[in-house]
Symmetry: C2
């Protein structure tokens, strides 16, 4: 593990995972579904919707389905999920509106301040499987001050495909070790590390809600480990 | 021509041409080359470099050269241009540094204020043939507050290919007439109009320098015609 000082000097671009790392998908989705269906278990609904996400991307990457934006994958999962929650009555307009909840996720309380501080010293960009429109709408609503919105949509591959991590370095004409992925998920960070990027783990114990506290203890291999984005800014001297 | 009020109500995304429309490539390039070679005619050098741009893109679109980022096209043109200006002595590091001048173009005096006001009511994005890294570096230096950086690089086609204009509408899941292209070039605006986008012409009489005043008189077909980005914000009630 390099020192935070070495990393602060070498890194030029910070690329951020979004769902769970910068924004609270669980709390936001639970709130949105309960707003239209107060008797639905918002916690279970949010976790079920999110659980469909990796299998859906895997089907695309296996070639069972052509290249698909996350908005459309979210909608496919939503349609398959509604009957289990007694929500088959939702009409097309309501389904569209609920699906757009992923464009309206709330930031974690430290995100705007942390990103604003980090932006003074680094180029900060998204690196999310979410599509560009989703990420742009989210940033505008939540005040996330990205220098640039990068997405699986730009590289036509989802994380952890190396095309995504190496794509960020190529976009900015940098070596991979001049880019750091910031994420709350060890599998994402491992994918970035395998491509030569630096990595910073962010603790998000509440990612799956207060009833399902996530183990956020440090794992070997990451360059940095921080409790929040403001704590990351502290470590990098921003 | 629709009324400005109708357009203000219907349009959701403003997509901006960059070189000449938002930033002053002529003045910036002339200044940069004169900083390293005071005896070079900065005006002639800037215009010659820029003049190589459309033919270079045409070679790529004709399949004579594979897909190429603008940074690399700029470098090819630069290398071919240096002998004419007595600058063949520039070494690799100096050429790289000069080529990056396109990342350091100054904004026109009204751009930051105009964009900031327009951003309150619309999603504002770039739609430039410049690559993402170039546009991001430029925005960070000049303080251009984009919601999103879109580029030929995302669509793997240069303007005026319809894939670029329609690509913006698709990214944001909008109809073409909910997107307005803002540009100082009639050919770019005509390409957008042919795809169903709204168009706003911006007067930039000094685009080619004070010695080569550009005719900026209105032409039929554009929805709006404004003297600057702040004037455009006035027209749209921002």
């Amino acid at each position: 593990m390099s020192s935070a000082k070495d990393i602060a000097d070498d890194v030029r671009v910070l690329a951020f995972d979004i769902f769970g790392t910068v924004v609270d998908w669980h709390g936001s989705i639970a709130r949105e579904v309960q707003a239209i269906a107060p008797r639905v278990d918002g916690d279970a609904f949010a976790r079920a919707w999110r659980a469909g996400y990796k299998p859906a991307m895997a089907r695309v990457m296996a070639g069972e389905q052509g290249w698909t934006l996350i908005d459309d994958l979210h909608r496919q999962i939503l349609d398959s999920l509604l009957p289990q929650f007694g929500l088959d009555r939702l009409d097309e307009a309501q389904r569209r509106q609920l699906n757009r909840a992923w464009h309206r996720l709330d930031a974690w309380p430290d995100s705007v301040e942390g990103l604003t501080r980090l932006k003074r010293h680094y180029t900060i960009c998204t690196l999310s499987n979410g599509n560009i429109g989703l990420l742009t709408d989210m940033a505008k609503r939540a005040g996330l001050p990205w220098d640039c919105v990068l997405s699986a949509e730009v590289f036509r591959a989802y994380k952890p495909d190396p095309a995504t991590y190496l794509g960020v370095a190529r976009v900015f004409d940098l070596r991979p070790d001049e880019v750091m992925l910031v994420a709350a998920h060890h599998d994402d960070l491992a994918g970035a590390r395998a491509c030569g990027l630096r990595t910073a783990y962010i603790e998000r114990p509440l990612e799956f809600g207060a009833a399902h506290i996530k183990d956020v203890s440090p794992q070997p291999g990451n360059d940095l480990h921080a409790a929040s984005l403001t704590a990351l800014a502290d470590q990098l001297g921003c």
